[in-house]
């Protein structure tokens, strides 16, 4: 039984990574309708910046915000120059994001090399809860994921700003009639969502080894989690992310490794065959 709980905890740890990425995707994709496959690149930027700064001796809690702000600034430029003109034609945005992935991978590999690496997190050692062992850094990722989920739900559901964001997402024309500036809201969501990806990248890199090419593989999981959870729905993304992590880990431990690797795609296809718009309510939070 102890073995089972350990596997379950591993699943939660894996799932928190998926949830964290899915959260950013669900915000950007769900609320602005931009199909940005380069979203994962901000994750790589966050992780690689943290790694690049690791020699400065300031520690994780100084370097991590620097990485996040830097990614946010890059996101702003990318949005203004690139995605803004494609808002009416999402497919062009998608193609644009492919170009951005290529550019980002080339630049990052040039700057920091292509080796897989982890960064030094804020904590060391492991937490022991009866027989279950979790590294403190992993526990931190789980806690961060949960607090971000709660934070986003509160902001989107209960604040005036959240209502403005939802209104823009639902009908930007009508929103503009009552004095909201949809362009600004969309830019803001894009920047915040991308910064969130960088944050995820920074934390994930303390647990898993990442390369400049990691963004693409993570972003696919992000999209799957966001779709399963219902676009624009942070609660759904969190549930889908944690659920996916647990199912994947348990399948790998008790059924077969092959199934574990393919279960994500199988789940997506089956889920969409049953409910074509995702398992949870969409974009109404």
């Amino acid at each position: 039984m102890g073995q089972f709980f350990q596997q379950f905890a591993n699943g939660i740890a894996q799932g928190s990574v998926y949830a964290l990425i899915g959260m950013g995707v669900t915000l950007v994709f769900g609320l602005t309708r931009l199909i940005n496959f380069a979203h994962g690149e901000f994750l790589a930027i966050g992780a690689m910046t943290l790694w690049g700064l690791s020699g400065d001796g300031w520690g994780f809690w100084v370097n991590m915000p620097i990485a996040v702000v830097l990614a946010g600034a890059i996101a702003f430029v990318v949005y203004r120059v690139g995605f803004k003109p494609t808002l009416d034609v999402p497919l062009n945005g998608f193609i644009l994001s492919l170009g951005l992935i290529t550019i980002d991978q080339a630049v990052l590999s040039r700057l920091v090399g292509v080796n897989a690496r982890t960064t030094i997190g804020s904590a060391t050692g492991v937490a022991k809860i009866s027989s279950v062992i979790i590294p403190w850094n992993t526990l931190l990722v789980i806690v961060i994921t949960l607090s971000l989920t709660v934070g986003l739900i509160v902001i989107l559901s209960f604040t005036n700003f959240g209502r403005i964001v939802r209104a823009t997402s639902e009908d930007s024309y009508a929103a503009s009639l009552i004095g909201i500036q949809p362009g600004r809201i969309i830019a803001l969501i894009f920047v915040v969502g991308s910064a969130l990806a960088a944050l995820a990248g920074a934390f994930i890199s303390t647990v898993f080894a990442l390369t400049p090419y990691s963004g693409v593989s993570f972003v696919l999981y992000g999209f799957i989690v966001a779709i399963l959870g219902g676009l624009g729905n942070p609660t759904g993304a969190a549930v889908a992310g944690f659920g996916l992590g647990v199912i994947q880990t348990l399948t790998g431990a008790y059924v077969s490794l092959t199934l574990s690797g393919s279960i994500t795609y199988v789940l997506l296809v089956v889920a969409l065959a049953i409910r074509p718009t995702g398992l949870f309510r969409t974009s109404s939070v």
């Binding site: 690139g82 062009n92 170009g99 951005l100 999209f223 092959t258 690797g261 997506l268 074509p276």
Partner: protein, 363 residues
């Protein structure tokens, strides 16, 4: 189910003429290219160009007329390659026994993936086909029968037709060119057929098309089947050009350059995918930079292309600047129609390209 009706004899003639107008210049260019780029390395690049262009047409044919971008044509293409490597390499089939099977298998696979994915629409469709592609690639990587992640190796040459053998690179290149031209011709013919016009009608206004009694799902699956058949035969050829194949060659991420190639070349123009494939293959060797720098330049080209010339290079060549465009419209009134085109739109989206529609209706 309504069938294509050729209509009057005059339409049939015009269609043949339009096909010849694309295929004959392409043939001349592709043959001339062997004299311009005659070194062994260049001929290899040309061969890849021909095969990639054929895959490009497999993607473009549904993208252009129905607005459906199916990333999973990557795995359909891979199925053709694996089928060839397996049946020819392990079970001693000939190329010409595998080829028809690959065409049918490609069409069926594309329809199956399309049918499952079409439950979801618009934005979802793209991502679901993406995921379906990754699923198949992942499973191929775990299968010992298919060689796992190491893939398969095929060292044979394409089987001879009567006494005509394919034992030189040049002869194999011409074999690829034949199939490429067939793909190109198919693209033109479908655009001029009632079937093609029906797809364009659906793309432009789904609700209106449905109210006219057009079966959307059936028509969409049919065009995906055509694309799948092209991807399948391209896979057969690829098995001979690329002796060692692995699943990752056909992953969705690996397939993105093909999508990029169609876009940069110009999906709405018959020469677009060919032009895109040519640039994709030759640009890195011309630029002759380190891999990272050429990757960077390639990315920049893609970004600039989609922002500045979303119609693609062929669009610039054919249509020119807006000024040239209006001059051309004045001149071409009465003689033939401008190539069909519309704002790129997602499967199921109602396109907002009303200006273009008006332009087309002028013909």
């Amino acid at each position: 189910v309504s069938r294509d009706i050729n209509g009057t004899r005059a339409t049939g003639d015009r269609r043949a003429q339009a096909t010849a107008q694309s295929v004959v210049p392409a043939l001349i260019l592709l043959v001339a290219a062997t004299y311009l780029f005659s070194s062994g390395e260049d001929l290899s690049l040309l061969s890849y160009t021909a095969i990639f262009a054929l895959v490009g047409y497999a993607v473009a044919i549904s993208f252009r007329y129905a607005g459906i971008l199916m990333v999973a044509q990557g795995v359909v293409w891979g199925a053709g390659t694996y089928l060839t490597s397996l049946l020819v390499g392990r079970y001693n089939w000939t190329t010409w026994e595998v080829a028809p099977l690959a065409v049918v298998a490609g069409a069926v696979l594309a329809v199956v993936i399309g049918a499952v994915s079409m439950r979801s629409r618009g934005h979802y469709f793209l991502i679901v086909t993406f995921a379906m592609n990754e699923l198949v690639v992942y499973l191929a990587g775990t299968s010992n029968y298919l060689g796992g992640t190491n893939g398969l190796i095929l060292l044979q040459r394409p089987s001879a037709i009567a006494s005509f053998t394919f034992d030189t690179p040049l002869r194999r290149y011409y074999l690829y060119v034949v199939f490429l031209l067939i793909g190109m011709a198919l693209c033109v013919v479908i655009g001029r057929s009632r079937f093609g016009r029906r797809l364009v009608a659906m793309r432009e206004n789904e609700d209106l098309a449905r109210s006219m009694g057009i079966s959307l799902i059936a028509a969409r699956l049919q065009i995906l089947a055509v694309g799948g058949a092209l991807a399948g035969i391209a896979g057969v050829l690829y098995a001979y050009q690329q002796p060692a194949v692995t699943p990752t060659l056909f992953s969705a991420v690996g397939f993105l350059p093909v999508v990029a190639m169609v876009i940069i070349g110009g999906r709405d123009f018959t020469f677009g995918p060919l032009l895109g494939a040519f640039l994709l293959e030759f640009l890195p060797s011309w630029l002759n930079f380190s891999p990272l720098v050429s990757q960077l330049i390639y990315g920049l080209i893609l970004v600039v292309a989609i922002l500045v010339i979303p119609e693609g290079l062929a669009g610039v060549v054919v249509r020119g600047t807006p000024l040239l465009r209006s001059a051309r419209r004045l001149l071409s009134r009465g003689s033939g129609e401008p190539p069909p085109s519309a704002e790129p739109s997602m499967a199921g989206d109602i396109s907002a390209g009303s200006a273009r529609v008006a332009e087309r209706e002028g013909a």
